[in-house]
């Protein structure tokens, strides 16, 4: 059991982290104080063109030179700094969070059509699998992630997320069951422009992981959620599918339903299931995925985890509980509960 919440402002009007902090705290019942986290899109306007690479260091002086060296091989570190944190009574600072603002050199990956993304993807996989004591946990442009082991309000205060602004926020309150509560295991998970929060357990993880790893991704977080970020990266960025089609691949309709569809829809859904069968995610889950221009929320095919949505003005909210949305926006309207596997999509218009 975990609690998730997400909000997007379609006109890119920025919100501070204060309200999502209170919303997530409202769902403390769904967590265990072993992990919480937030992501803000639009957090670094001054470095908007740089990849904001976030690293957890075990010991900065021992490990950072190796990371610096690896990054320098592939581009320019425009700026780097320790992420400011503020001592909390119950939160032990196990890692030192650090952020780099990094510009990859596209000439170094000449055969790629998206060289910058591919360089950063390579760096994430390489550093996470070969430099012990360093873990890249966020790597997108203009995206900030704040996560640690603790209750939502403690983690929020540890980073003082009220000092950051974003037009899209996700929050996650963790009750770990399949892997220990550790900083890297807290949500949101991020890869490049994708961030994911997830409530549930993916019973098909072994299949999904082996599938995604055959495309060069390396799962290094010991938890099932990271495959969601990688699958979205593969399907949407590399295979150019729309987020709606990607959701159909991850939580497809049942064959019985496909058999009853009109011919062209049946053909489409059969093609998706045949091609992306190993990407199908099984088990109970509610997931919200974000990228700079959209968020999408969806559940497993038989909806074994809750998900509700609501709107208010230009804002779309997606959460495990209506009560949490009402903390952020008491006047929220259009509260709906999407059907199993049905994607809820919010896009920016500005």
């Amino acid at each position: 059991m975990c609690g998730i919440i997400g909000v997007i402002d379609r006109s890119r009007e920025c919100m501070s982290g204060a309200s999502i902090r209170s919303a997530l705290s409202m769902m403390d019942e769904r967590g265990s104080g072993e992990g919480a986290g937030y992501v803000a899109y639009g957090a670094f306007p001054e470095y908007a063109e740089c990849y904001a690479i976030h690293v957890f260091f075990d010991t900065v002086h021992e490990t950072k030179p190796a990371v610096d060296q690896e990054l320098a091989k592939w581009g320019t570190i425009v700026h780097d700094e320790e992420i400011p944190t503020y001592e909390q009574r119950n939160l032990r600072k196990i890692h030192t969070p650090w952020r780099y603002f990094f510009l990859p050199d596209p000439n170094l990956m000449p055969r790629s059509t998206t060289p910058e993304d591919d360089i950063v993807l390579h760096l994430v996989m390489k550093i996470n699998s070969s430099i012990p004591g360093a873990l890249i946990y966020s790597s997108g442009k203009n995206i900030a992630i704040f996560k640690a082991s603790g209750w939502p309000e403690e983690v929020a205060d540890f980073y003082r997320i009220q000092d950051y602004k974003g037009y899209l926020w996700l929050g996650h309150n963790r009750y770990p069951t399949n892997t220990p509560g550790w900083w890297g295991g807290a949500h949101p998970f991020n890869l490049l422009h994708w961030s994911v929060v997830h409530n549930g357990e993916i019973t098909s993880y072994g299949t999904n992981r082996r599938y995604i790893e055959s495309y060069g991704y390396r799962c290094s977080m010991f938890t099932d959620t990271e495959v969601v970020a990688y699958l979205f990266d593969l399907l949407v960025r590399r295979h150019h599918l729309s987020p709606e089609i990607a959701v159909k691949a991850l939580a497809p309709p049942f064959w019985d339903d496909i058999d009853r569809m009109p011919e062209d829809m049946a053909r489409l859904n059969t093609a998706i299931r045949l091609t992306y069968g190993p990407a199908l995610m099984n088990g109970p889950f509610a997931i919200v995925v974000a990228r700079p221009d959209a968020i999408v929320g969806f559940t497993d095919r038989i909806k074994l985890r809750p998900l509700v949505t609501g709107t208010s003005g230009s804002r779309l909210y997606i959460s495990s509980e209506e009560a949490a949305i009402r903390v952020m926006e008491p006047d929220v309207g259009d509260i709906t509960m999407p059907r199993a596997g049905e994607p809820i999509l919010g896009r920016v218009v500005a």
Partner: protein, 502 residues
């Protein structure tokens, strides 16, 4: 008399108090074990193969069979079997023939693997109340989809090659008409049609009476090319090129002339009474590029409408070979493990050549994944699938579907006596003698085979539901849901599974 006679393998006793001399055992035993003379039952135990036909037919439970009633002096190295094989070969100077699958007591890896179930953190799924999807598609899949999304709808631009649609991942493997009887083939054909799955014809052509079931039959092209013409290829739902067989990797096949009756001769397209000898290699395939040509020729001949499978025996280098096959335009690779059965094989091959299906599937699946082509080709496991748990485990190790062979025969009465090569099967399965064949009633036998497939399918659904999985593709290659119980570390590395407790 240097060697003398060896002890009988089986000792038959007939309880005179029970026996009423009805003579059913006499009628039923094709090996002439029983005879009634002067109102007395006489038994020749030496002829018995323990097929249990007499036991099944005796109305009074009067017959008892004891295995190995006379002990040799025990010895751990010079076992009874080894000694008897030596006597046999010292007498004959010949290769020893054997039937069924590998009979050595190698450990069965399946029995050291355990499956997973959900508790608390995620709900198990009840297949009686929730959808449970076992539908499986066999054939080439694209590596990615190109989709054009327009205002008027969504269009798939990628062409999807023809696939076989299975309602359960359990198929019945290739057993030819000749090796088994027409009644046996008909029974299987009706069972697979009823359960929405497929069977293989084996290398024996397709008998006319099976035409109504042809949409559920995979036709085989093997090294002897028996029964192959364009009509045969066009009738099948898919075509399978047989390179090798788990029971006898590296050698060909031999159907003795006695089994080539009028009907068999017609479907195989060979003269009556002639031995049907399939050479060890295909003489038009001496390398992988030749295989590719054959795959493409068969596709060309059938206008690219049918999937083409390639079957190999599980040998040491199966992973690399399968990867080569996967890139030959083949739609599926069948891996036949060293427990695979056969009508007749040299015993030394049956018992000593090849590797178990568990390890073969695990390594083939891993190799295809490392090359990024796993989902583009289907993987069928066969050879030693004995129960639904084996199906679940081999799918979790990476297979798309399985072929069963022996299990389907057992469902029709086979007692695994391993004497198929003599052509006298008292159950009407592995024989062409009309009186014996007539013993197998296709109405009843097809129901038995369909029942078995249905029962395993139900068990598989329950196992998946318990593991919180409602679609077979989420079990496929999901080795995280397996644990090795007292398997050694190197084996667990090959299988890519963790030990129990980890």
């Amino acid at each position: 008399m240097t060697i003398g006679s060896v002890p009988v393998k089986f000792r038959i006793t007939v309880d005179p108090d029970q026996c009423m001399l009805c003579g059913r055992c006499v009628e039923n035993c094709p090996y002439d074990v029983f005879r009634i003379e002067n109102n007395r039952m006489h038994v020749n135990s030496r002829k018995c193969v323990a097929c249990h036909r007499c036991i099944a037919m005796c109305p009074r439970d009067a017959i008892n069979i004891r295995e190995r009633p006379v002990d040799y002096r025990s010895h751990p190295v010079w076992t009874t079997e080894i000694r008897e094989d030596i006597y046999n070969q010292a007498r004959t100077g010949k290769i020893i023939l054997a039937g069924m699958g590998n009979a050595r007591p190698y450990p069965v890896i399946f029995d050291s693997l355990v499956l997973d179930a959900c508790q608390v953190t995620n709900p198990s799924i009840d297949p009686l109340r929730e959808p449970m999807e076992l539908r499986t598609y066999l054939g080439k899949k694209p590596s990615r989809l190109e989709i054009r999304e327009a205002r008027d709808g969504v269009e798939v631009l990628t062409r999807i090659a023809p696939n076989l649609q299975l309602e359960t991942p359990i198929m019945v493997g290739h057993m030819s008409y000749g090796a088994i009887s027409l009644n046996a083939q008909q029974s299987i054909a009706r069972a697979v049609s009823e359960t929405g799955t497929y069977m293989g014809t084996g290398e024996g052509g397709l008998h006319q009476s099976l035409y109504p079931y042809q949409s559920h039959m995979i036709v085989q092209v093997a090294s002897g090319r028996f029964g192959v013409d364009i009509d045969y290829l066009e009738r099948g739902a898919a075509i399978e090129i047989k390179i090798g067989q788990g029971a006898k990797p590296g050698i060909g096949g031999h159907l003795p002339g006695e089994k080539v009756c009028e009907d068999v001769s017609c479907t195989r397209m060979i003269p009556v009474g002639s031995d049907a000898i399939s050479p060890a290699p295909h003489h038009d395939i001496y390398s992988i590029e030749d295989l590719k040509q054959l795959v493409r020729s068969l596709k060309e001949a059938t206008e690219w409408k049918k999937p083409v499978f390639v079957k190999i025996a599980a040998v040491h280098n199966a992973a690399a070979i399968a990867a080569g096959i996967a890139r030959s335009s083949a739609d599926a690779v069948v891996i036949d493990g060293f427990r695979g059965g056969t009508g007749a094989a040299p015993k030394v091959f049956r018992d000593h050549v090849g590797i178990p299906i568990e390890a073969a599937i695990a390594s083939v699946d891993a190799k295809l994944r490392s090359q990024g082509i796993r989902n583009e080709v289907s993987l069928i496991a066969s050879g030693g699938i004995r129960e639904s748990a084996d199906v679940a485990k081999v799918i979790a190790l990476g297979a798309d579907a399985v072929y069963i062979g022996t299990a389907a025969l057992v469902a029709m009465g086979c007692r695994v006596c391993g004497t198929c090569y003599r052509g006298l099967c008292p159950w009407g399965i592995a024989t062409q003698r009309p009186d014996l064949v007539a013993r197998l009633d296709p109405d009843e036998a097809s129901r038995n085979v369909a029942n078995l497939i249905h029962a395993w399918t139900l068990e598989l659904s329950e196992l998946m539901g318990a593991a919180g999985i409602n679609s077979i593709e989420s079990l496929r290659g999901n080795r995280d849901r397996l644990r090795g119980y007292l398997l050694d570390e190197s084996m667990m590395k090959v299988l890519d599974v963790k030990p129990v407790g980890a």
